[in-house]
Amino acid sequence: MTGPSPLSSAEVLSASFRDPSGFVFRRDGVLYRQVNRRYAEHFAALHESGLYDALVTRGILVAHERVEIEPPRPEIAHGVIRPELIPFISYPYEWCFGQLRDAAMVTLDLQLRALEHGMVLKDASAFNIQFRAGRPVLIDTLSFERYREGEPWSAYRQFCEHFLAPLFLIHDVDPWLGRLPALTADGIPLDLASRLLPWRSRLSPSRLLHVHLHARSIRQYGGLAVPKKIQRRGLSRKALINLIQGLRRTVESLDWKAAGTEWADYETQHGYEPADYGEKQRLVAEMLRTIGPATVWDLGANTGDFSRIARAAGAFVLSADVDPAAVQRHYRRIVSEGETGILPLWVDLQNPSSDLGWANSERDSLMARTDADAVLALALVHHLAITGNVPLTSIADWLARLGPSLVIEFVPKRDPQVQRLLVSREDVFDDYSKEGFEVAFGRRFEMLERKQVGASRRTIYLYKRLP
């Protein structure tokens, strides 16, 4: 009888199967990437050309080290590398406009740098970009191959579908169209983007070319080979660089003003007197110090005031909010301040990202990525309970799944913010009271602290999950 095969001791990541150049696997809790033989030449060129060093130094490619371990599939393996870890894997449909825009810029920068070193970015999937220390970085080391003179950019369509189409749709139509890639799992098809964009977008050369005519061309040549005339003409290196620079100018010129949505102006509408707001900040900071978490999920984070407090307590903070404008403002704030330990994400907590893609296992749901040591749920429960009609017991069950410690605020019915939610509807929320809240949460948590916030009627609790 033989022992376990290398493959059986490795967990191949479910999202890593499309590219024959290699795949990502986990063994004994450590993340590795197998490089296949068919990619060996390009892998060597990545290093020998100086591209790897240039990109890692610039901070737009994750570093890796070569390791001598048994590959999971030795029959096709060239070697194994151990890539630098990203603290949290997020997906493009969870990013705000600014994050998608910056990810697009980095993708184009990677392509321009690659061309300088005689290589090319062979794919332009937005899923290959992640946020590390607040800035976008490519995580797929095997995305480069040798450039051959005259060859068009094979990832051009993918770039347009993964980046340009959603950016144009958010910019020209509605920010919620940034969620479309969650339906298609592989960018927004250009014919769909073309139909959704307003007619006036045809007056913009970039939208006309890269979306409308591109969609038309794909339709026109569907099932046909590349015409010989186009094959002969090819695309010179200079023309390709011009194209990438043109795309870069287009993306750089896009700006989405994050204002006028429900929560973007929350800082001035949170319903607290300044002294009470200061007291709330002090209480939350004190409770976080008691917990000492390494990772905090700030739910309903708005523009991140309390995420900053969690960050100051030494935690990496995932900062989620439903309002794309609030997330955009938060992201801009992070970039301008050079903050490295907060990741703002656009998440609808009443409908968080689900398992998507092939076999429902290519992209993990938000719940599957849970790793919080502590959860902040400030001024959130009344929205879930009253706007979303979610029972308090269900909210408690859900928060207990997210992390072992919880700092949570209860806003009573008498509070003007809750009255605002009830102004045009019948109050059917008999259980929504401080007592009802404590009973619901007492089923799943042990109360460690309960503090009144200044002169307000609001209460902040520190809870520990029951075993």
């Binding site: 050369p205 005519l213 015409p227």
Partner: protein
């Protein structure tokens, strides 16, 4: 004149100009015959070659405009030098 081009005549000159230039380049560069093998992204390759030409033309216009603007700036600055 195609139906598309006739329709363009109804639009304001700059808009129609942009569209017609792009449309013309697209159709000149895009033969309609099929060749030997299937390629699901043929349309993207064709458009890319066309787009690169268009972007280069736009860049040339841009550089020319900057150059001309530079001439006027120099003339304005001359009397002070």
């Amino acid at each position: 004149m195609t139906r598309f081009m006739r329709q363009m005549a109804h639009y304001p000159a700059p808009a129609a100009g942009t569209l017609l230039v792009a449309f013309a380049i697209f159709h000149v560069a895009a033969p309609t015959r099929a060749w030997a093998y299937l390629d699901p992204i043929t349309g993207s390759i064709v458009l890319q070659v066309v787009a690169a030409g268009f972007v280069a033309t736009m860049a040339t216009f841009h550089r020319t405009r900057v150059w001309i603007a530079g001439l006027f700036r120099k003339r304005t600055a001359d009397p002070e030098s």
